[in-house]
Structure formats: C-alpha cells, structure tokens
C-alpha cells in the first residue's frame, strides 16, 4: 500500500474553517445553529447542464454540490477524508485503486449507493458518446471498473497516473437509474444524487430550487456538522449583472450573493449588516500566453522583453484597487500541493532590460508612432481575447498592459476581442500573437498538462503552443510517479523553464471568488481545498 497522505479516519472530525483569503469573517461561531427556513442566493452563472459529469463550469459547482457527492472530500492541507467512500488503498505498483463504500447511503430516487452503481458511473464516463471530452480525461486511464462485492469498488489503470486519485475522488456519483433517463444530458430531477438537498424546481433563466433531503446522514467529517442540512429550502437566482446582485442583497431581496466587483467590495466589507469573504482560485492565474509559433513572439528575446516591459504589480493595483493578487507562476498559490513560491520576485518589470533585448533582436527602428519596427514591419503582437471569458474588468487590464508595453518598450499590443467561433478558428490555426486566459478547479497540477502538453497529445489549452521536448519529458515523468516530492520538483523545474527561460507567458493576477451575505446568515464558506464557494449544507439563518 502506497502513501495515503493526510487521509484521516472517519471518526476524527476536523474543524477546518480557516480558508485562504477569508478577509472579514465575523465572529459567528458563538451562536448555535437553528434548523429550518429558506434562503435565496443570487448567482452570476446559470449551469449549462445540471448533469454534474458534463458540467465543466467552475461557477456552477456551488449549485450542483447540493445534490451530487463524490467518493472522498479534500481537506485544507490537501489531504483526503471519507465521504461516500470510507477508505481507499492504492496498490504497490500504483495502478489499482480500491475504494470501500459507506454503508446505508441512498440516492434520493431510492436507489442504493453500492459498488455496482459507482462502477457504472466510471464505465459510462469512459464513453465518448456520453461524456465527450471528459472521456479523454482521468477516466481514460481506467481499464476496468469492478464491483467484487457491494461495498468495494476496484479501478484498474493502464499506467501509473498520479493525478488520478484527486480526479477519481472528485467525480460526482449519480444514480444508476439516471443513465436511462431522457434528462441524462441536460440534467434535472430524474438525475438523482446522494446530497443533502434534492432538486425541486428549475426555471431556466430565473432560478433553481432545492429542498432538504431529510434522510441525509453521510456528510464528510469536515463539513461543519452531521445529519440533514439546516435549511429546508434554498433557491439560487440567476442574476448575471453584478450591479443587480449587489442591489438585490443590499435591498434584502436575496440573502447571499457571489461575484462582487472590486468597486462594490467595500460596500459590504465596511458594513456590519453584511459579511464578505473571498478566496483565490486554484488552477492557473490569468496569464498572457505568448505564441511561440507565430509572429514576433517566435523569438524568445521578444517574449522576455514583453515580460520585462510591463509593470504588472502597478497595473493590478490600479485596475483592481488592491482587491486582486498579483500572480507569478504557472499555478496559483491556492494550489498548495504544487505551487512553488520561489518564483515570486525572481523576475519583473525592467524597462532597460526589455529595450536591450529588443535591440538585440533587431527591432531597432522606430516608426512614426514611436513603436519599434524591423524591415518596415511594426513590432505588433495581436492579443486575441474571447468575448466569452471577458469578465472581472479584464478589458481595462488589457488596455493598461497595452499602454505599458507601448510606453516602456515600444511594443504594440493590438487588442482583438472575438466571438466564440473566431476564437475556435484561431485556436485551431494558431494565427494569433497572444491569448490571455485563466483556468480554475483543475487541481493537482492537472491544469499544467492542458497548458503545456503539445496540442495533439492532450494540451487542449496550450496557448503558447510550445512543443519543447524537455517540457514533455517532465510532464510524463511527473505523471508516472506517485512520489509527491518528486512531482513537486519536476513542476518547479517546469515553472522556471516556462516563465524565466522561455517566457511562454506573463502571469497577471489570481482570479478569486467573492461571497457576501446578510449578517444573519451563518455558515457560508469556501471549500477547504478547492476554494470555490461551498454548497448550502452548513448554512443556517438566525431569526
């Protein structure tokens, strides 16, 4: 049996309430929780599908987690605690994972949670016709999903694949009946889960309502309490406009909101009638990735010059009024497993360096606008930003970058906001100078693989388009060892190579989630490890 880092027995209840970045959680633990009542929560994003397997939206997780649960839960320090599974083992050669299921767990449609149901979930996820791209992820390594007895699930992998435990432990288990439902792909009340709430009503474009699951009695030990949820009912209202969410909370029409703009944060932080919390996301920072296969950024000197030409700290401070954290690495600091903070401060704004590098690269002439050029060609890098991910004042941020690059080094960053279709085309053809983006929730360093593997080997968001052989070798090496220290060192090398040596991208800021609530709402918190807002299980309303 191999490492079971941080796995804590079912009896030891963890009192983890400390979440990175909780900035103004008021003293609210002195009161004892009361059951009953309902709550309205204004959310920014409507789920595209309610099937938890098929929904890839980080922002939809807080809603779906009310109904759907997974085998293991994570702790703040990156460990695992029992949930639907009470125990797990990994075989010595690292390719067989055995989960022991909790007894007495039932789906809300009456089906039993047993090994056959869990194995069926894994088998279905492997089918491309059911799960599309998800079938190529973690589950693609599963050769066999077996149920030798009702409480034992055995997953056999084709190879040692280190991110598997995090991935498999986090897969939501849906009722076996669901796979025969018409609603399977869109999700709905026929897709039953084991969670503390049951989907009651979904009005597309308006709200989604859940009622308490009175039979619920299998919360993970760090969930805050045991037994059924406190609330009888919770409604999530879809309010896509940030100003409207803020107004709805201040006027008492909803009790909790998420997604608060930098300008509105002070409104809740300074006001005793509300609580305000924020937590930085896991995944990758919002980073400007520079294309190594197209345009002037093919030259590493130009890429390094871009990194040196922009005073990121100042730009972030002024655009977000101190409400966002400057980023440095290939992962965000929230990815505590593998974030190597030695990268912080190891590079930075240096206009002289930027200009020297560009001179060396031959961009010595200046055109009428004061921008650098070579052989009559302007030093222009086209930034292609998808309209769909343009949020959180990123347009202002990009304009600030543009001004800095121009002023400090004579680089022209040409901004181009495109629709989804054009974005997909440019991704396919590689015809772009730079793409800024961030990812969330692909923890356990999995996101590094999507960003740095060659595109045809699974690097679906390899925006820099690097195919450096050393990067590929590192990634393969790290995936095939279960030694945490070894993986950490490899990703650390990769980070230094990608940022310092090759300048594949310029990390800008760490995306975060914000939640504000009325002062009489208690128990609103972030998930201990993934830092997304938690479901409504532990929330109660003081009357």
């Amino acid at each position: 049996m191999v490492t079971r880092r941080g796995f804590i027995g079912g009896a030891s209840v963890l009192a983890i309430s400390a979440v990175i970045g909780v900035r103004s959680a008021r003293a609210q633990d002195s009161l004892s929780p009361v059951s009953g009542g309902s709550l309205a929560w204004g959310v920014e994003t409507e789920p595209s599908t309610l099937n938890p397997h098929l929904n890839g939206q980080a922002k939809a997780k807080l809603i779906l987690r009310n109904v759907y649960e997974s085998l293991l839960a994570r702790t703040a320090d990156g460990g695992y605690v029992p949930w639907l599974a009470t125990d797990y083992t990994i075989s010595d050669e690292g390719k067989t994972y055995t989960f022991t299921l909790r007894d007495g767990v039932a789906f809300s449609d009456g089906e039993k949670l047993d090994a056959a149901a869990v194995a069926l979930n894994f088998r279905k996820l492997k089918e491309a016709t059911y799960s599309g791209s998800i079938s190529a992820g973690h589950v693609s390594h599963v050769v066999e999903a077996l149920a030798p007895d009702p409480r034992t699930v055995v997953l056999k992998l084709d190879t040692i694949y280190s991110p598997f435990l995090d991935g498999a432990a986090g897969i939501e288990i849906i009722s076996p009946k669901a796979f025969a439902s018409q609603q399977l792909k869109s999700g709905g009340s026929e897709i039953a889960g084991t969670g503390p709430f049951i989907l009651e009503r979904y009005v597309k474009g308006q709200e989604i309502r859940f009622v308490k699951n009175p039979a619920y009695n299998w919360a993970p030990p760090n969930a805050g309490h045991q037994g059924p949820a406190y609330l009888d009912e919770i409604t999530y209202r879809f309010l896509p406009e940030s100003a409207v969410r803020t107004g709805a909370l201040t006027s008492g029409q909803v009790d909790v909101i998420e997604g608060i703009s930098g300008n509105d944060a002070a409104l809740f932080k300074e006001n005793p009638d509300f609580t305000y919390q924020s937590a930085i996301n896991t995944g990758t920072p919002y980073t400007l990735y520079l294309n190594v296969t197209h345009g002037p950024t093919v030259d590493v000197k130009v890429r390094k010059a871009v990194l040196a030409a922009i005073d990121v700290a100042r730009v972030i401070e002024s655009v977000y009024r101190g409400e966002r954290t400057r980023a440095w690495g290939v992962l965000t600091p929230a990815d505590t497993d593998f974030y190597d903070k030695s990268i912080e401060g190891s590079y930075g704004f240096d206009a002289k360096l930027a200009n020297r590098l560009l001179d060396e690269a031959g961009w010595t002439a200046r055109d009428a606008d004061g921008l650098r050029s070579k052989d009559g060609q302007r030093l222009s890098i086209e930034i292609v930003q998808s309209q769909a991910t343009l949020r959180d004042q990123r347009d202002v941020l990009l304009q600030a970058l543009q001004a800095q690059a121009r002023q400090n080094a004579g680089i022209d960053l040409a901004l181009n906001y495109v629709d989804a279709g054009t974005y997909a085309d440019r991704q396919k053809s590689g015809q772009y100078g730079a793409i800024p983006n961030s990812t969330t929730t692909q923890e356990n360093a999995v996101t590094i693989y999507f960003h740095y593997l060659p595109r045809d080997l699974g690097g679906s968001i390899n925006y820099s388009r690097t195919e450096a052989p050393e990067v590929l070798a590192w990634l393969r090496g790290a995936a095939s060892t279960l030694d945490h220290k070894e993986r950490f060192d490899i990703y650390s090398n990769l980070q230094r190579f990608a940022i310092l040596e090759q300048a594949y991208g310029l990390p800008l800021y760490v995306p975060e989630d914000q939640v504000a609530a009325a002062a009489n709402v208690h128990g609103v918190r972030f998930r201990p490890f993934k830092h997304l807002p938690e479901n409504a299980y532990n929330i109660w309303v003081e009357r």
Partner: protein, 333 residues
C-alpha cells in the same frame, strides 16, 4: 369629408349590402390564401437564411462544442455522429426541413434539451414582457401625443423627454429603474417572472423608448389632423378639444403610428435580450444569443421560425387594424 363618408357607408341600402358582402368574402378568401402563402415563403426563407449564415460564420460546430476541452478523433467522431454532422450540408438542411414539417425541432447541441420544449418554456415570459412593454409604449405615446400636440411649450418638453428616452440604452435605464424603485424604494422585486409586480420595471425599461418613438410620430400626425378642415367641422358641433383629439384626430394620426409599432415590435423581441439579462428574467432573449454564439443550430433555427411567424402574424394584424381604423380602406376592398 371623412365624416360624411362614414355616415354614407352606414346608410347603404340593404340589398346592395349583401351582394357587397359576398364579394368581400371572395376577396377575403383570396387575401387569406395569399397571406398564408407568403407566410410560408417567409418561414422557409428564414430557415434557409439562418442555416446558411450560421454555417458561413467563423468556427465549425464541432470545435465550438468541444470548446477548450480535450479533443481526440474519437470524441470528434462521437459528436459528429450524435448530431448528424457527418452528413453533407445539403442533406442536413433537407432532413431538418423534413423533421420540422413533422413538428420535430431537434435537440439543442449545447443545452442538450428538446428544442420545442425549451422554446415553449421560455416563450411565455418573453411574450408577457413584450406585451407589457407594448402597453407601456402605446399608453405613453397616446398620452404624450394627445396632451401636447399643437401646444408650443408642452410639446417641446415632451419632445425633449422622448429624445432622452430614445437615446437611453435600455440596459442603463433598467439599472436606474432598479436602483430607484427596487433597491431604494423597495416597491418592486428585482428578479424573475413570478408576480405581476416583477413585470413592471422590465416593461418600463423596454417599453418607454419605443413609446417615445411612437409618441413623436403620433404627435406629428395629430397636429396635421388638427389642421385639416374636418377639425373645424367637429369644433362647430360644439365638441371640446379633448373629444376632438381622442375621437377624431387620433384616428387620422394612428395609421403611420400603427405601421411603425408593428415594425418596432420586432425591436421589442430583440431588445428583450438585454432586459431579461438585467432583471434576471427567463425568456427567449438570452437563449437566442447563446445559441447564435455557440452555433447551436437547432435552437437558432427554431427561434428564426418563431420570429418569422410572429412577424407574419403581426403584419396581418396591422393590416386588419388599418381596416378598423380607416373606413376608407374598407370601402376600397
């Protein structure tokens, strides 16, 4: 002269009238058939144009469906097979037409639900919103036109107000209305389509700018009518100014305003997108925008069919309204 005509029509002797009616029925039948024919043509054109333009727009459907997730030949093949995208474009088009004729609008690529169910669940809130906005627009236009037509200062003030309303983005107007009436005064709820009071603010933010446009046209028509000789005749009967404006003037002024309104209802439907978003209302607006951006062909086509259908119905209604408003047109048919 108009007044005399109306009385003349009412006084036609009985026997020629029945002949007149049978004649009218024949022309009515041919008119109805013509309407249905051109309606079907419009529907077909809407389907075809939407189909072509979505395929001409950048990005292929499979890439959009996969997005930034992992992509392998197996996944691509599975997606193509699931949605019938592996067939030639023209046969996709034909099979779509065939299925629509049988009432099958397909399944949404992105939302994975049956399109007919999806649209049916979302059409009612949108219709409610547009109908309420239309009421707001008409009431606003009539009041503003009748109260101020021909009066120097009131019409200037009303005109200026209308100009402001027309040039205010409905997004901004919505936020301002919410801020005042929902967040501060707490008179109306912000979100959703639950109660009648939740309809008030969205209807105002969508309807006022439309009302401003119609109001301007209506006022001009009213002013022109008030200068015509019949106005003097009506006054000589001893009718007061309001009766003249409401009972006689408005009828004359209404024709161009009705035409404009019929045309602008299309704008209401597209303007509903933003209003629905601001107020967190369900409706067709957001679904349509998302479907176009994501090339969700079945949804786009169904919406195109629906809007073409609404236009056909509306233009028919406008034509009928003409007959009701202006008896002279009735006499001609």
């Amino acid at each position: 002269m108009d007044v005399e005509n109306v009385t003349a029509l009412r006084q036609v002797p009985v026997s020629p009238a029945s002949r007149h009616f049978s004649l009218m029925r024949a022309t009515l039948l041919s008119q109805v058939l013509g309407r249905v024919g051109s309606g079907i043509l419009v529907l077909w054109a809407a389907i075809t144009l939407s189909f072509i333009s979505l395929h001409v727009a950048p990005g292929d459907i499979v890439s959009l469906l996969i997005g930034e997730q992992l992509r392998t030949p197996v996944i691509e093949a599975a997606i193509r097979a699931e949605w019938g995208l592996d067939e030639p474009l023209f046969s996709q088009y034909l099979s779509y037409l065939w299925r629509v004729l049988h009432g099958d609008f397909g399944r949404s690529y992105i939302l994975q639900t049956d399109v007919a169910t999806l649209i049916l669940s979302q059409i009612l809130p949108t219709l409610k919103l547009t109908a309420a906005a239309l009421v707001v627009a008409v009431v606003f236009a009539v009041i503003s036109a009748v109260a101020t037509a021909g009066l120097r200062w009131p019409r200037r003030i009303a005109g200026a107000m209308e100009l402001v309303l027309v040039s205010t983005p409905s997004f901004w107007l919505g936020i301002v209305l919410l801020f005042i009436f929902s967040f501060t005064l707490k008179l109306f709820p912000v979100a959703g389509d639950r109660t009648f009071s939740a309809l008030v603010l969205p209807a105002l933010s969508l309807g006022l700018s439309l009302g401003a446009v119609i109001g301007q046209v209506l006022r001009e028509g009213l002013e022109r009518a008030l200068e015509e000789p019949f106005a003097l005749t009506v006054r000589s009967w001893g009718a007061n100014g309001l009766t003249l404006r409401l009972r006689h003037g408005l009828r004359h002024a209404a024709l161009p305003a009705v035409t404009l309104t019929g045309w602008l209802i299309g704008n209401l439907l597209s303007g509903a997108v933003i209003t629905e978003q601001v107020f967190g209302r369900p409706g067709l607006g957001k679904i349509t925008v998302d479907a176009v951006l994501g090339k969700d062909l079945p949804v786009v086509l169904a919406v195109a069919i629906l809007s073409a259908f609404i236009y056909v119905v509306l233009s028919t209604l406008v034509d009928i309204l003409y007959l009701l408003i202006d008896p002279r047109l009735r006499a001609r048919t």
